[in-house]
Symmetry: C2
Subunit: 286 residues, 2 copies
């Protein structure tokens, strides 16, 4: 049982339409509010060596990244902290606050609870216009498939390449890039937090097309030898880059460094270097 | 160290103005959005004997109660579920959904995580007008202090009175009452989830006045002997009644059964039967 299978249980109960994007889409006057929640905790998400401040930063960043992937501006964060040691609270809160401040949001509410292990749940609210909202649905055959930054760095740290500590411990959500891409009219967008492969399968599940990428185009973490670098770049999780599709005549987008890694296909499949891409990456398992 | 002391740490970091009400208050077009988050988990909140459905119901209800206490209409719920056994997910989600449906809200997003113990974090969003927003601040000397329903029933179950199972396992937030009270112009309102005593101290902390209540007026759980019934009614937690202050000429409010239990005083103290009320009730401790 993995979390994508469990999501089907959730879909049956709450409705599929509420599980299609990185955020929920809510009317807010003449704007659109996007809302998302993320649960992180010590065993799974906070690796040894992270400071309390970094734990708070990461907890805010993952939620802000979901907002960025919709092309919205992060505005408000609510944070629930379950603590085994109350001494950690100040550091966690300061890290979350600093991440919010960096990306234009503020902490407006929260909850504190005594808990068996450090658990942080952040809920983020963002705003955008209906016109500038990016969604997972909308990819079109012939569109380019692109990614910001260098995927695989967070997983590289986990695999022993300690120069990538900041990538894993202090992720930088692509907030400005997300808004610029949405304004430029990307056809589909999400963040790649579970890795490129699972992200492409997630995109296919809400589109009627497929994807073909060329692994030679995908940027690799520096100083990691092949074939490990290719493996990390395609299947590593824990990054918060944006993966998006865009019509060729809208590319490139001013102010958004990124890389074309493939194209959208009519055929409903995910191919890498002409062969079916393995459907694996970061998943919780029970 | 208890959670009210820890809240001071949070206030220093995120600002006191974000910790004054049951919900954050956010502009949303020409309306007001209220937002709140609550973390519940097995060890502290889900007592033995609760079904998965009841766990989901309770998780949604506590957040919906915070929205009710602001006089707002619950609209959206996000739910993050940390699971040790994935088999519980369907029941929890169904309970949360049924509670949302009962009170006019819908589940719009969430997260699933593997966790050492069942942990549910719900974030609720509600809407109201600026005019009809109720807050903790605003109590005025001479106002009546009132409470809906019968406080102490949830704690009574914990103390062995098993006839109160529904009060603890399936709390019914006072959504319609909260909106009617806000429209009628209550001067201050919150829910009494930590008990009447702590609620009055919380109200005093954001007002310049005090409170004097008469314990003889406070409704008691049925079939519980004195003095235990008085103890439960004043200091028991886990209820989701509304405690509010209102100018005498605005009382009673049509359609809202409630009880006058005291008055707002100029003197900054919380008195019960003419003596200082003990500052105790439901608190997490570290």
């Amino acid at each position: 049982m993995d979390d994508r299978e469990l999501l089907k249980t959730v879909m049956r109960i709450v409705g599929e339409e509420n599980c299609r994007d990185d955020c929920a889409i809510l009317p807010c006057g003449d704007q659109v509010m996007v809302a998302t929640t993320d649960m992180l905790h010590k065993t799974t998400d906070f690796v040894d060596g992270m400071t309390d401040w970094q734990i708070g930063w990461m907890s805010a960043a993952v939620t802000i990244s979901d907002i960025a992937s919709m092309g919205a501006a992060p505005k408000y964060l609510l944070i629930a902290v379950g603590l085994d040691r109350w001494e950690q609270l100040a550091g966690v809160m300061q890290g979350a606050k600093d991440c919010c401040t960096r990306f234009g949001a503020q902490i407006v509410g929260g909850d504190i609870d005594r808990h068996g292990e450090l658990t942080v749940v952040t809920t983020g609210l963002g705003l955008t216009s209906r016109r500038d909202l990016a969604r997972r649905e909308g990819a079109w055959p012939g569109d380019l498939v692109c990614i910001t930054g260098v995927p695989g760095q967070a997983q590289a740290w986990l695999d022993g390449y300690k120069q990538f500590e900041k990538a894993l411990f202090e992720p930088q959500p692509r907030v400005a890039e997300g808004q610029a891409l949405a304004r430029a009219g990307v056809s589909a967008m999400m963040d790649d937090s579970d890795g490129i492969a699972l992200s492409l399968y997630d995109l296919m599940s809400v589109n009627t097309c497929g994807f073909a990428i060329d692994s030679a185009f995908v940027p690799r973490p520096d100083e990691v030898p092949e074939p490990q670098a290719r493996e990390l770049a395609l299947y590593g999780g824990g990054d918060y880059e944006l993966i998006f599709t865009i019509a060729p005549d809208r590319y490139p987008v001013a102010g958004v460094p990124c890389t074309v890694i493939g194209t959208v296909t009519e055929k409903r499949s995910v191919l890498v270097d002409g062969r079916p891409m393995e459907k694996r990456g970061y998943q919780h398992r029970w």
